[in-house]
């Protein structure tokens, strides 16, 4: 009986060691690349270690920074707004502006809103959501996202709008206002670059 047990133990050991050996050979195989050249000769090359290290790991990626954006595109010298508005009594009356900001032409559902729906009357250096939450200009995408929810969703995924940086690293977003004038958001036509040259005239 004892002998049988010893035999069993030995065989288990043998199987385990064989398995380990197999594992080892498999792992060293992975470092090699095999292919056939045109004459049918088998070519085995050692893959450089750098090749194996350059693996794109989709599971243990570092957390992305949340929507890093460049500074908001203010008109030269306009910000901070409190430079002028400090101490000014906010006039909540809806009206056509005549003294200042006459260059702003509201062409963005103007029948339903005016300045102080988005600009915070208490503190002009900030914006205001419908909920009453006060946000800085650098988070204005949340303000736009109140109505344009589908675009906001796509923008966060990098589908709407332009995202630069690294495809497998940190990305930089643009604010809605970098491309769309918030007071007149329709994208303006631009001048195209020159067309390709027509092929040179041949003998025909």
């Amino acid at each position: 009986m004892k002998r049988i047990i010893i035999l069993l133990k030995l065989s288990v050991l043998g199987i385990v060691s064989a398995g380990l050996l197999g594992l080892l050979t498999v792992s060293s195989e992975a470092a090699r690349e095999k292919y056939f050249d045109r004459s049918g000769r088998l070519i085995v090359i050692d893959k450089p270690a750098a090749d194996l290290l350059r693996t794109y790991d989709t599971k243990n990626r570092p957390p992305e920074k949340s929507f890093p954006v460049p500074p908001p595109p203010f008109t030269e010298g306009i910000f901070p707004c409190s430079d002028c508005h400090e101490g000014m009594e906010p006039n909540l009356q809806r009206r056509t502006l005549e003294d200042m900001h006459t260059d702003i032409l509201l062409n963005h559902a103007e029948g339903q809103r005016w300045c102080l729906d988005c600009h915070n009357p208490e503190d002009r250096d900030t914006l205001r959501l419908v909920s009453g939450e006060v946000i800085p200009f650098s988070e204005s995408y949340r303000l736009c996202g109140q109505c344009h929810g589908d675009k906001y969703r796509d923008w966060r995924k990098g589908i709407h709008g332009k995202r630069t940086g690294f495809w497998n690293g940190d990305k930089e977003y643009l604010l809605c206002a970098h491309c769309h004038n918030p007071h007149d958001p329709r994208f303006k036509p631009i001048h195209p670059m020159p067309p390709p040259e027509r092929p040179a005239r041949g003998p025909h």
């Binding site: 350059r54 794109y56 989709t58 675009k151 630069t164 495809w167 670059m193």
Partner: protein, 308 residues
């Protein structure tokens, strides 16, 4: 009768076969570089196929090219051969509802990838189509030149290499000078290409371009960051094509292709098809996607989509 056919050994007779052999040998000798040619010419003459270059030879080849290009353009040029990244297959998305046809991508590509300025080579061709006809390529016009784009009643379809999974171009190459890399990019070994242009005939997208003459690039406009399989200056008589900016995208972290970075409307998207969190996977799963000439079963990795 039989006596007549016998050759007279004293007379030199040239059979057709002999004449052709001699001619071929003569032409062959002419093609070999002269003994006075520099060592680098001899080395490039005997250089192996890129995939058969050994670990010892590859750095030598790259160094030889760096030296040659730096001398030619009078400024330091680097040539790298960065391999693919494991677990990456590149995919490209283009939002047809956003593109305004401004051709910024065409020229960003030219300067990033050292395309010839004269004669002109463009890897990207923006095609103007009729909104009423939809994707009807018989309506295609690529010489459009209005004052402002987008034009009323038109939309635009930029076409470049679709990096097909089932690429017709690589199958027809008689010398295997073009192939699909593991990350899906179709590349050309410009030193192995014989310039037969079979691949250009096979490509249904017109994405391959031939260097009829030595490319002319102003020295100060040359992009000195080059890749062996990508944007290094090309010799005359070889075929070239879009490589998804292999010199930028294969880095860790990898930058976006030049066309993606320049697009003023953010119509271009790029990412890893094997990464479920990537923007390219999001758009394939959530948007209406369109493949150009899908019926040819080329299986492009270039996905046109409608963002809205």
């Amino acid at each position: 009768m039989s006596e007549k056919k016998k050759c007279d050994p004293r007379v030199f007779q040239l059979s057709r076969r002999k004449a052709l052999k001699g001619l071929a040998a003569g032409v062959g000798v002419l093609a070999i570089p002269s003994p006075k040619a520099s060592a680098s010419v001899w080395e490039s003459f005997f250089q192996k196929h890129f995939k058969e270059l050994s670990k010892e030879d590859l750095p030598k080849v790259l160094a030889r090219m760096e030296e040659q290009y730096s001398r030619e353009y009078g400024r330091p040029v680097t040539v790298k051969a960065t391999p693919h990244i494991e677990g990456v297959k590149f995919g490209y998305g283009l939002d047809l509802s956003r593109c305004v046809g401004c051709r910024r991508c065409v020229y960003a590509c030219v300067s990033e990838n050292n395309q010839s300025r004269e004669p002109q080579i463009h890897w990207i061709r923006v095609v103007r189509l009729n909104k009423e006809k939809g994707i009807d390529l018989s309506e295609a016009e690529h010489y459009y030149n209005p004052r402002e784009v987008p034009e009323k009643g038109h939309f635009y379809l930029p076409v470049q290499c679709q990096q097909c999974e089932n690429a017709p171009c690589t199958k027809v190459c008689p010398v295997q000078a073009t192939w699909r890399e593991n990350d899906g990019i179709i590349v050309v070994d410009y030193n192995w290409c014989i310039g037969c242009r079979y691949c250009m005939a096979a490509c249904p997208y017109g994405a391959r371009h031939f260097n009829w003459r030595k490319s002319r690039i102003p020295t100060d406009e040359l992009n000195p960051d080059t890749h062996y399989l990508g944007n290094r200056p090309r010799p005359v008589g070889v075929v070239e094509k879009c490589t998804f900016c292999i010199q930028k995208t294969r880095e860790m972290p990898g930058r976006y292709p030049a066309c993606e970075e320049i697009c003023p409307v953010g119509a271009r998207k790029f990412g890893n098809l094997l990464d479920p969190e990537s923007e390219i996977r999001y758009l394939i799963e959530n948007k209406r996607v369109f493949l150009l000439k899908e019926d040819l079963n080329t299986q492009p990795k270039f996905f046109y989509f409608y963002g809205s």
